[in-house]
């Protein structure tokens, strides 16, 4: 075989070699801030409690519900920071799933909570959800940027979604609140089933 044949074949092999498998999307390649910002959107288990909480806030009325914009991101911030400091706390996952079921039920019942209780709920859900999102950080993640990303998207989501749902509720027709309550019953149903699944997994191993 002539040398240039060998070089051509090696070049061809290099070009034709399959690309690396992408089993798990660890990074957005846009930096750790955006990794943190995108991570809550990667699974229903993260997005559902956020949605349920914002609907519940809207049902509390604008004056009381708007405090969620403060309490929820603070919870996310502390939760994500806690995961960096003390990772691997197992029961947080159960708290998150229980939050999906519990807040969904509160929405379905259109429950109006005392403001301190509602704020505490928003904070605790933020804490648990921030912790679970923070668990996605790996050894080379810039923790500060990732946590800022999670917190920022929590703030943006809570603000925009609350504004949108309040606008929706301000429209004509009594069906709007009922539609939100039906949505709450859907969220609660998912939470109840997944909670049952997780408890059965824990029990049976």
């Amino acid at each position: 075989m002539k040398p240039w044949h060998a070089r051509c074949l090696i070049a061809a092999l290099a070009v034709l070699t399959p690309t690396a498998s992408q089993a798990h999307l660890v990074t957005t390649r846009l930096g750790d801030f955006y990794d943190g910002a995108v991570h809550p959107m990667t699974g229903f288990e993260f997005a559902l409690p956020w949605l349920a909480l914002v609907i519940l806030a809207a049902l509390q009325g604008p004056a009381r519900g708007r405090w969620l914009i403060l309490a929820f991101p603070i919870g996310l911030l502390l939760g994500a920071a806690l995961s960096a400091w003390q990772p691997g706390v197992q029961f947080v996952q159960i708290v998150n799933v229980a939050a999906i079921a519990g807040i969904g039920l509160l929405v379905a019942l259109a429950m109006r909570l005392p403001t301190p209780l509602f704020l505490a709920l928003g904070f605790v859900v933020g804490l648990a959800n921030g912790y679970e999102n923070g668990e996605a950080m790996v050894y080379n993640t810039d923790r500060f940027l990732f946590i800022c990303g999670v917190t920022a998207i929590g703030y943006v989501f809570a603000t925009l979604a609350l504004a949108l749902i309040n606008t929706f509720l301000d429209g004509r027709g009594g069906w709007r609140a009922i539609a939100l309550r039906a949505g709450g019953s859907w969220i609660a149903a998912v939470g109840i089933m997944v909670a049952g699944f997780q408890l059965s997994t824990l029990y049976h191993g």
Binding site: M1, H5, A6, L9, A12, L13, L16, T17, P18, T19, A20, S21, Q22, A23, H24, L25, T42, G43, F44, E45, L48, L105, A108, I178, R181, A182, S185, W186, A188, A189, V190, G191, I192, M193, V194, A195, G196, F197, S200
Partner: protein
């Protein structure tokens, strides 16, 4: 020998060219995730007609049943789903699902108006069996939350479809058409019951 070497290299290059990248699982829209869950109630005609019947009956009964029944159903369905997830044996699941289509179809066809609590209890009993059938599939799902979201959303949308069809009950001809739909659902349920 030279020809053999060249042929071997070319064969190796061809083989490597045919290899595809390994795409294990990206965690989105997995085979047993949202899509499978969403298709589960829609691809089973017995589930489908019973869900539409819930919406039709709610619309026929009017407020507050129009929203009480579709809110009750997913919540109680979730309880049935948990029974399925845990693996507690529940007998006659398919039979009761077919019976639900017969029962709810007859309610619509005969335009029966029981008290709200009785309507809610009837729907709740049927919901347990529908939920059980869906829940049995959940532990095998690659993305259990996605699967759960899928089948709950599909169930809710089928209720909504029934409610939207049922809005024509305000017109005399529409009311007759809705009753005819109920009769058709009952007949289909009877078919599933005997086959």
């Amino acid at each position: 020998m030279k020809t053999n070497t060249l042929t071997s290299w070319l064969a190796l290059a061809t083989l490597l060219a045919l290899v595809q990248p390994a795409l294990a699982h990206t965690g989105t829209d997995t085979v047993f995730g949202f899509k499978t869950g969403f298709l589960h109630p829609i691809s089973g005609p017995d589930h489908l007609i019973a869900m539409v019947a819930v919406g039709l009956w709610g619309a026929q009964l009017g407020a507050p049943a129009i929203w009480v029944l579709p809110i009750t159903f997913p919540l109680v369905m979730a309880m049935g789903g948990v029974l399925g997830v845990i693996g507690i044996p529940v007998p006659f699941v398919e039979t009761v699902i077919a019976l639900s289509a017969v029962g709810l179809g007859l309610m619509v066809a005969l335009r029966l108006r029981p008290p709200l609590w009785a309507a809610a209890v009837l729907v709740a009993v049927f919901a347990i069996f529908h939920g059980y059938a869906h829940g049995r599939e959940l532990p095998g799902a690659a993305d259990p939350v996605g699967y759960g979201v899928g089948f709950v959303v599909a169930t809710g949308l089928l209720h909504l479809a029934g409610i939207l069809i049922g809005t024509v009950t305000s017109r005399p001809l529409g009311a007759q058409a809705v009753r005819a739909c109920g009769a058709a659902i009952a007949c289909a349920g009877l078919f599933f019951l005997v086959t």
